[in-house]
Amino acid sequence: MKKKFLFLALAAFAAVSCNLENLLSLNPESQLTPEAYFRTAEDLQLFSNTFYNNLLDKAPFDRESDVFVEVNPSNLIRGGNDRTVPASGGGWSFTNLRKMNTLLANVDKCEDAKAVTEYTALTKFWRAYYYADMVRKFGDVPWIDRELGSADPALYNPRDTRETVLQHMIEDIDEAIENLPGKAKAPETAYRVNKYTAMALKAQFCLFEGTFRKYHSDPAPFENSYKAADGSTTTWQEYLTMAADAAQMLMQSNQYRIFSTGNKNADYLTLFNSDNANTDEIILAINFDRDLKIMHDCSREMTAQTAARYGMTKKLVDMYLMADGSRFTDKPGWNVMPFAEEVADRDPRLAQTIRTPGYSWKNPGVSKDGPEFAYCQTGYQPIKFVQTYSVKPYTADNSYNDMPVIRYAEVLLIYAEAKAELGTLTQDDVNLSIKLLRDRVGMPNLDVAYANEHPDPYLMSEETGYPNVTDVNKGVILEIRRERAIELFQEGYGRYFDLMRWKAGYCLNQPMYGMYIAGPGQYDFGDNSKYTFYTGNSSATGTRYKIFDPATGDATATDELFYLVNPLTGELATAGVRDALKTVPHSFDESKHYFYPIPEKELQLNKNLKQNPNWK
């Protein structure tokens, strides 16, 4: 009995142990494993949806700029000691890149060959989009095209050169242009990436690269930065040609046009404060939707006292031409002109970009008011993305007008700029591009020959312009920069990176002034707004501002101090332009600020990673 028993027990033991590994293998029943996913076009689309959400900047406007300032500017604008090497983060993130590489690694599991091609192209579009941003910020960056394991030595690679990365980006974007579908069906048209979006992106980053190399040519910011690992290189002229070609390809596709109903005083603004993106002009937009509570804060940010009191700077206001095409800065007394007079008879885009007399935000006919210093510190109060009052967009996060990411106007500007920087811009080129933008607002066309003969001193000046433009055709280059600053104000990836590629960081050191005030007294900036400015103790009621009196040095007033400076000397005065950033330092350091610093932690973790020049 004993023996029999032991034998039986051993047999049972053996039987169980053989099957144990299988017995203990379970699969989740309410979640998919990666093996079961990436099978259908829908799987790929759902996975790639994250790229839109994660990569598009949903903050509704370009807030870091020399022509658009806030009460407390970001450290990027403050520069100086306010820009420091972060401990971690600071934009040095590869999370989204990893997701793209995950999709590319799994895409072949999909049985739908068409979907494989399309979503490979889409992912490569986003990879180029991601790298365009990384290169803009950091210069040389590591090129990673696969999911790295936690023990992968490639984690500790040094950075790849800018040229290496650009060559990969061009491969990616060319594949995207080739394989992405055309415009999506409504209602997704403006919200999905298509082959034209890819053309626009290519034009965008090639323009960036071309102008960057042209202006930062000597020497390259990093050793061998402009050379690939195999020693090959691409010249700035070649990049600019690629930019112009990509723009031209898009222009010739006839898929997009400049939106116009013929109303030169309204069409430009309509494009930005409408609920839904115009699919004729806007190539890619972020959808905002009141019903789904997908909303942004733009209207409130521009119209609330509690917000950052954004304002356009006087430098940009002065750049707007007169309605007849002549220069405002050629007019006598342009620098000390009262507001109402200053904004009269200008390029119609000015009145569609900032609040000018006659603009009615609140219910038409009920209330008309001019700019409000409590909302806007420069007095030039932006309205470009402000929705109408009736939908109460002024409460927090209650705006739902779509935000453009790339629009056709930018493509036209890229085309003109690339050609101009190459020195090949003709009047015909202008007629195909800049003229279309001018036509919408009823402005005279840009005359290439005239511009080159009469470069604008305002745009060449060290105080307000770009003194490092020295080409023979600098006249027209400056005019295109004017056009770009005006047309794309508050939009896109922004003015900041324009300055970086033009090697014009010094623009951030230029004065950021506000409106001219002729000294103590009462003013009416709109149709019925009353402002009182005074220097001493005043019992006047209404909206009151106390002008800082340099003679008495009065600094104890409880009213908000209003610093006025002489626009020419920058000295404190009782009559002059408002220096809204009087107490805020802003200094751009040419030796290092063209690149973002790499976070401290990353340098410690990867000894092969070197900090950008002069950052400590």
Partner: protein, 1082 residues
């Protein structure tokens, strides 16, 4: 029960008080053991009475007995009890006691078997049913609190149905870890069994004893064995126990109830921080409140609600607490059991009903539970038995309110100063009020919610059925195979309604915020199924009567499955009825669900060897597999070994054996695993989600998928390596027993962020087995039992103190700079760092002078108008002129210093009692040593309006504790609201002035009982009848009582760190219980 029986019981009670039997001669004697040595501490009792005595050191005794022939019952632990007849003329006896093999056979339940207590080599504490039967606490964890050294139990709530959480030997793992609870060998919930069913509880503390449970036993095992029928009780034993009583808070509920002082105080605090009043009352309103300051009830001449400009104004003196809550609330318990058996069949059947009514006044919250257990064991033939064990548990908690009951306490404790009543004179509810800031609503609507048709019902049930076959093919070998099916489920129903309120006479408004104030209901059902198979064999033999060998081995397999279904429907057509059948579909119903599973399988074995009971060896091991790890990492091997030396059995020990009855030294070492990770955490699962705010132009939010974070490929078991050293001593005839344990437990390979990776990795750093922890501690338990004669009757008494302490340190963690915000190597768990406070500023001048030198802006949130007299003065310990935390590392900690430890590392308990003449009294105290708590930022009970500024329940005369020019030595600083609630405020920063020592001593239980004399009740066919009073949580003593009597020290912990959803304001109070009971056995 028949009337006659009740009368019988009453007459028993009466006659018990009658006189004693006359004693009129003395018998003296000596008790010797088999070797002729005197045996001290032997009980000598006159048969049939409770008269008796105990032998002295020399083994002698003397006793008063009646003059006729008597029988003495001579008994002692470890010896066979003898009945000695003493003739009428005999006055001296010599009794020789034989060693009692049965007592030596006294066993303790261990994993997959039992072990002789004397042969134990591991650290196991056993609690017998007698220690639990008389307790009236509602669940086992509460009863066990403080009774087993090293078993630390804390309660996290005072609401009906709340239970304790258990932890064996201190801090287990940074990822948590609880003891494995096995009920009759099957994993179960300790609080779902009827305490009256418990025969014994073994608390297994060290690795060697737990080794047979491998990967589930890293933090100890609790083996609960339930009662069974007995073979020799052919007559059924019926036992009934009934208890009735009340519960009430352990803390004071006496709050400020005058509108004037309530508004005055709150406004004073609010104004100092915000420059405005919280209750928007001007001078005239305050005068109105002052007129009524002494009105306990509304005086018709001075109405509490007044209509002004068409709107209500409120000048009440409302006792909000007692409007919302009943302090005293009833509780009941009934249990009954029937057991019996014979050689062929044994049975035990029991049932229990337990009801606790809660504190909510409008519609009390009620917790009810039912237990049913049925055990039957039948002989199949000479060598096989079959048994079945069924446990069924049902509970329901039905409570009013908007969410969790704790949430109601927490949020009802806001925005209801005493000047507001609950309702307007026309019976409409008050919700929005003009005098309240516009974003705040009276009591957050909780007063309405308690009385509304809102419903919250939590139903739990648990069914376990085990069938076991026991085969004994030949002498020494036992084979057991069992299968258990356990299913348990949670069923939660919530019902919400719209609130109707009024701000002006005749106008009733409805509030619908689409959230808690909306018409909808939700139902959620979670179902769990567990199946367990065990097969094991035990073989026992003895060679040459000296070498005792016992071998056990077997296989265990566990299968677990979980499924959840949830639904939510809107706009029910009735407010009183709550069923998804009543929803209307104007708004789409919502559904959801998920499921999960795991499996474990393991081979286990144990071998014991002892030589003449003197040298003891044990080895055990388990080879465990879990579905929770990737192929190749599923299995772990967990061995252990232990040995013991019974020094007292050595021949050389004989001379002192009569004093030291037992002396054993034992040591053990072993490894256990912890499979406490997610069921599928080794797979990168695909998650489907809706974007928070993104779409592509359609009418719904866009969806997306993502892949779970990358997983370290070598992720595996957390292991716990434990060594234990124990000493057992028994002295003076086993009157004094002492057990001490010392242990070291290394928890290795705790899952944490393994190592920092460059950002180019592009994902969260995978969890790796990269942190270690060491816990060291000791346990001491002592027991003294004796009896003496008092006025001719036996006075038996006992004292059982116990003490345990531990300390846990991180021994490996990836935190090179030793940031204090994370674990770091060398850190003792529970460390609290904070600032030193140099008192309060005596004058404005001192405040300004000091803060001009020392920048206090680190703690200046809500500082309105600069530092002033009465504000907290933070010491600039590092002398850098700035109050700050430096780099927040161990080396550079700025002005912060180590203030104390938050973990209750020292626990103690004392049980003592006596029985005399049928009466028995026992008392139980338990407590903790120094441990500290910095009051949570939102804790109104501690901070009052220093926290959010608008507590409903404001301590009476709160201002007396606050600084003022007339009260410069006050405990609290200058009144300012929101300085504690804001982490950057002067009280929000942890400091040594306001940190609280929350050690406590609790009078946990007092039981006074009376057993009616058997001789009397037997006449009525009753075997036992006991009446008793029992009180639980009767009192506590703690340093925190000096500051507030509104906080039970056990309630002093941070409930959740999230200030947006903070439940720290006020919690359901801890309760004390007074109960009367009757136990009847026949």
């Amino acid at each position: 029960m028949r009337l006659t029986k009740i009368l019988a019981v009453l007459s028993i009670l009466l006659s018990a008080a009658l006189g004693l039997q006359a004693q009129n001669r003395t018998v003296s004697g000596t008790v010797l053991d088999a070797e002729g040595l005197a045996v001290p501490g032997v009980g000598v009792i006159l048969e049939g009475t409770s008269t008796g005595t105990v032998t002295g050191f020399d083994g002698t005794f003397s006793l008063q007995v009646p003059s006729k022939e008597v029988v003495l019952v001579v008994s002692s632990l470890g010896y066979v009890t003898q009945n000695v007849t003493v003739g009428a003329a005999q006055s001296n006896v010599v009794v020789t006691l034989a060693e009692d093999n049965l007592t030596l056979e006294e066993t303790v339940v261990v994993g997959y078997g039992t072990q002789k207590k004397v042969n134990l080599t591991g650290a196991i504490t056993s609690v017998e049913s007698a220690a639990l039967e008389n307790r009236t606490a509602h669940n086992l964890t509460t009863m066990l609190q403080g009774s087993v050294p090293g078993l630390n139990i804390s309660t996290s709530s005072g609401n009906p149905g709340s239970t304790g959480t258990m932890n064996i030997r201190g801090y287990t793992s940074i990822n948590g870890g609880e003891p494995l609870v096995l009920i009759d060998g099957i994993e179960g919930s300790i609080n779902r069994i009827n305490p009256q069913d418990v025969a014994s509880i073994s608390v297994i503390k060290d690795a060697s004893s737990a080794a047979v449970y491998g990967a589930r036993a890293a933090y100890g095992v609790i083996l609960v064995t339930t009662k069974s029928g007995s073979e020799d009780k052919t007559k059924a034993t019926v036992r009934y126990s009934g208890r009735f009583g009340v519960e009430m808070p352990t803390t004071s509920t006496d709050w400020e109830t005058t509108g004037y002082w309530s508004v005055y105080t709150i406004n004073k605090f609010w104004y100092e921080s915000k420059g405005s009043n919280y209750v928007n009352y001007g001078q005239a309103d305050m005068m109105e409140l002052l007129r009524r300051v002494n009105d306990k009830t509304e005086n018709p001449e001075r109405p509490w609600v007044v209509v002004k400009d068409g709107k209500y104004k409120y000048y009440a003196n409302t006792d909000w607490w007692h409007e919302l809550y009943n302090d005293v609330h009833p509780t009941t318990n009934h249990s009954v059991s029937v057991s019996g058996g014979n050689n062929a069949v044994k049975y035990y059947v029991s049932g229990q009903y337990d009801r606790q009514e809660g504190m909510v006044k409008a519609r009390p919250d009620v917790y009810e539970k039912y237990n049913l257990r049925a055990k039957i064991d039948a002989r199949i033939n000479k060598w096989a038995r079959v048994s079945n064990n069924t446990n069924f548990f049902v509970s329901s908690y039905d409570y009013p309110g908007l969410a969790d009951i704790q949430d109601s306490f927490a949020y009802g404790d806001r925005h209801a100063p005493a000047c507001f009543p609950l309702k307007n004179p026309d019976g409409t509810w008050i919700y929005f009020a003009d005098a309240l800031p516009s974003s705040y609503r009276l009591a957050n609507g909780r007063h309405w919610a308690y009385a509304s048709d809102n419903l919250n019902l939590q139903k739990r049930n648990d069914f376990t059925n085990t069938t076991e076959l026991t085969v004994t093919p030949f002498q020494g070998l036992t084979l057991k195979a069992n299968y258990t099916y356990r299913t348990y489920s949670n069923h939660d129903t919530h019902r919400r309604n719209l609130i109707e309120y009024s701000q002006e006479p005749g106008v009733v408004q409805t509030y619908n915020n689409g959230g808690a104030y909306d018409n909808y209901m939700t139902e959620e059902i979670k179902e769990y199924v567990r199946q367990t198979w065990n097969v094991y064999a035990t073989y026992e033999t003895s060679i040459a009567k000296s070498h005792n060998i016992k071998v056990m081995g077997g296989f265990n397999y566990d299968d677990y499955h979980y499924k959840r279904v949830a639904a939510k429907g809107y706009d029910l057509i009735s407010t009183e009825l709550s069923d998804l059948a009543l929803i209307t579909t104007t708004r789409s119903p919502e559904v959801g669900g998920n499921q999960s599973a795991w499996r474990m399988a393991g081979f286990f074995g144990r071998a014991n060897y002892d030589f003449k009971g003197r040298y003891l060896f044990e080895v055990s091991a388990r080879y465990d597999g879990s579905s929770r790890f990737e192929k190749g990492h599923k299995f772990g091997f967990f061995p252990s070994a232990s040995l013991g030396w019974r020094v007292s059995e050595e021949p050389f020990f004989a001379p002192v054996k009569h004093i030291v009855n037992n002396f054993k030294i034992r040591a053990s070492y072993g490894t256990l695993g912890n499979q406490n990770v997610g069921n599928f955490s080794y797979i990168r699962l695909v998650n489907f989600k809706d974007f928070a705010a993104f779409n592509f132009g359609g009418s719904t939010m866009a969806r997306y998928t993502n892949l779970g974070d990358p997983v370290a490929s070598d992720k595996t078991w957390e292991t716990s390596k434990q060594s234990n050293l124990g000493i057992d001593l028994a002295l003076f005839g086993n009157k004094l027993e002492l057990t001490t344990e010392f242990y070291i437990r290394d928890t290795d390979g705790m899952l944490t962020d393994g190592m920092d990776l460059p950002a180019t990795y592009g994902a969260d750093v995978p969890q790796m087995n990269a942190a270690d922890l060491r816990t060291k501690g000791y346990e001491i338990s002592l027991s003294w039992r004796d009896s003496f004669k008092l006025f001719g009757n036996d006075f038996e008494y006992f004292v059982k103190p116990s003490l345990s302490q531990y300390k846990s340190n991180i021994t490996r963690f990836n935190n090179e700079t030793k940031l204090l915000s994370n674990y770091y190597e060398g850190m003792e768990l529970g460390e609290i760092w904070g600032f030193h406070v140099d008192g309060l500023f005596a004058s404005d001048a001192e405040a300004q002078e000091y803060t001009s030198r020392v920048d206090q802006s680190y703690c200046s949130a809500n500082l309105n108008g600069g530092w002033k007299a009465g504000d907290v003065k933070y010491a600039d310990l590092d002398g850098d002129g700035v109050i700050g935390i430096g780099k927040n590392t161990l080396d550079d900690h700025g002005d912060r210093i180590y203030l104390g430890n938050s973990l209750p590392r020292l626990h103690y308990g004392v049980q003592a009692g006596f029985s005399y003449f049928g009466f028995d009294v026992s008392a139980f105290f338990e407590g903790t040593g120094d441990h500290y708590w910095y009051p949570s930022r939102y804790n109104f009970d501690f901070w009052g309006p220093y926290s959010l500024g608008y507590p409903t329940f404001l301590a009476k005369n709160f201002l007396a504790n606050c600084w003022s020019e007339d009260n410069p030595d006050a405990y609290f600083p200058r009144p300012r609201s929101n300085v504690a609630s804001n982490g950057g405020g002067e009280l929000g920063r942890v400091n040594d002035r306001y940190i609280q020592n929350v050690r406590y001593l609790r009078f946990k239980n007092l039981t006074i009982g009376y057993n009616l004399p058997k001789s009397f009740i037997n006449r009525f066919g009753i075997e036992g009848l006991r009446v008793y009073f029992s009180g639980e949580n009767l009192a506590y003593w703690s340093p925190i009582k000096k500051v507030t009597d509104h906080l039970d020290p056990e309630s002093c912990f941070d409930r959740d760190g999230d200030p947006v959803n903070d439940l720290n304001n006020t919690s359901y109070p801890w309760q004390k219980t007074f109960m009367f009971g009757i136990d009847l056995t026949f």
